[in-house]
């Protein structure tokens, strides 16, 4: 069964909850309209479609747009090598969606990382602690409104942070410049 057929089968099962499969460079993505339904969709994908490997869960901060968060599940069926992606949106007020840990146990650390970096919570997760930063760090550093240099924080006896000197940076490389001078890393602010 190809990725497209898999996606169509999921759509046939869940109807309007699932968008039409979108294809980009041979990869299939479907969107789930209601993030609360992620668990039954994933359960169906694993049990009926054979997607027995959760490659990754990633998250996107659509800063300035609504809904703010997009959570992306990358699924793979090891038996035949088929991969699909399931995207779902979560609004900022809620910032919570069900954990898929009952389906794939590897979701445990993926979801902890998203909680650590983006601050999206996963209901039903048995151990939703930070995984990279320390307990008590007050920010979510991969959010778009978090400065690249970081913010000061202090947790006595555990850790502290200070803003990093950027010396006018960030230094950004632009791909596809016509010569080495236009391609080399230079101070480029996002608004320019």
């Amino acid at each position: 069964m190809s990725a497209l057929e898999s996606a169509q089968k999921i759509k046939a099962k869940f109807g309007d909850l699932i968008s039409e499969p979108a294809e980009f460079r041979g990869e299939i993505t479907v969107s789930l309209a209601d993030a609360e339904q992620i668990l039954p969709v994933c359960e169906f994908a694993k049990k009926e479609m054979g997607f027995n490997y959760l490659v990754d869960i990633s998250s996107i901060d659509n800063y300035g747009d609504q809904p703010r968060w997009t959570v992306v599940y990358h699924l793979r069926a090891i038996v035949n090598g088929v991969e699909i992606r399931i995207k779902t949106d979560v609004n900022e007020e809620k910032s919570e969606l069900p954990s898929v840990l009952p389906v794939w146990r590897t979701a445990n650390w993926h979801e902890r990382e998203i909680y650590d970096m983006m601050g999206i919570r996963f209901s039903g997760h048995p151990d939703l602690r930070r995984i990279l930063m320390w307990e008590g760090y007050p920010y979510f550093p991969l959010r778009k409104d978090f400065p690249l240099a970081g913010k000061p924080s202090e947790l006595p006896g555990i850790a502290f942070t200070k803003p990093a000197p950027l010396e006018g940076g960030p230094f950004v490389t632009v791909a596809g410049g016509k010569d080495a001078i236009s391609r080399e890393p230079r101070i480029r602010n996002p608004e320019e």
Binding site: Y139, P141, T161, L166
Partner: protein, 174 residues
């Protein structure tokens, strides 16, 4: 061994005796047996392993005895990126080392934070512990580490020991 040369001292008169200052002798012992505490935190630690291995062979300088307990170490070689999460651990390990102790910051990350101008990385280990020698490079060549060790030895060789002793201080006050 009795020697007939007269370079340095006259063996006919003095026998097997070398005249030196006490702190020069003590420093000579110290600088040729600097036991490193390998604080390997990132890729620089791989180069540090190369320094210890046979091609570069840090034991030529008396520093082959890598101590994984800070209580037996003289010189902490901070090899790699010091994250804020690790910073207090590095400081705590440094505090456990007995005096006298020295620190080598190996590579760009340990010296300044390197390419990580980031929320997660301490911008130079000298923010938390005193550093004696900085090594540039990303990562530094093993020769650079050996050069740093030789510079550290030169520094140790000039450090006054005796005037810090309590008995000597009491004498000077008399």
């Amino acid at each position: 061994m009795r020697t007939e040369t007269e370079i340095g001292y006259n063996s006919k008169i003095e026998g097997d005796v070398v005249v030196t200052r006490v702190d020069a002798a003590l420093n000579w012992f110290r600088k040729n047996s600097v036991w490193p505490m390998p604080m390997g935190l990132a890729c620089c630690a791989i180069e540090l392993m190369a320094v210890g291995a046979s091609r570069f062979d840090i034991s030529r300088f008396g520093s082959e005895v890598m101590r994984f307990s800070p209580r037996q170490a003289d010189c902490m070689i901070v090899a790699g990126t010091v994250t804020y999460k690790m910073a207090m651990c590095v400081k705590r390990i440094y505090d456990q080392m007995p005096e006298p102790k020295w620190v080598i910051a190996m590579g760009a990350c340990a010296s300044t934070g390197g390419m990580y101008r980031s929320y997660a990385v301490l911008q130079g280990v000298d923010n938390i512990i005193p550093v004696d020698i900085y090594i540039s490079g990303c990562p530094p060549r093993p020769e650079a580490v050996l050069d740093a060790l030789m510079k550290l030895q030169a520094k140790i060789g000039t450090q006054p020991i005796l005037e810090n002793l309590t008995a000597v201080k009491a004498l000077q006050n008399h």
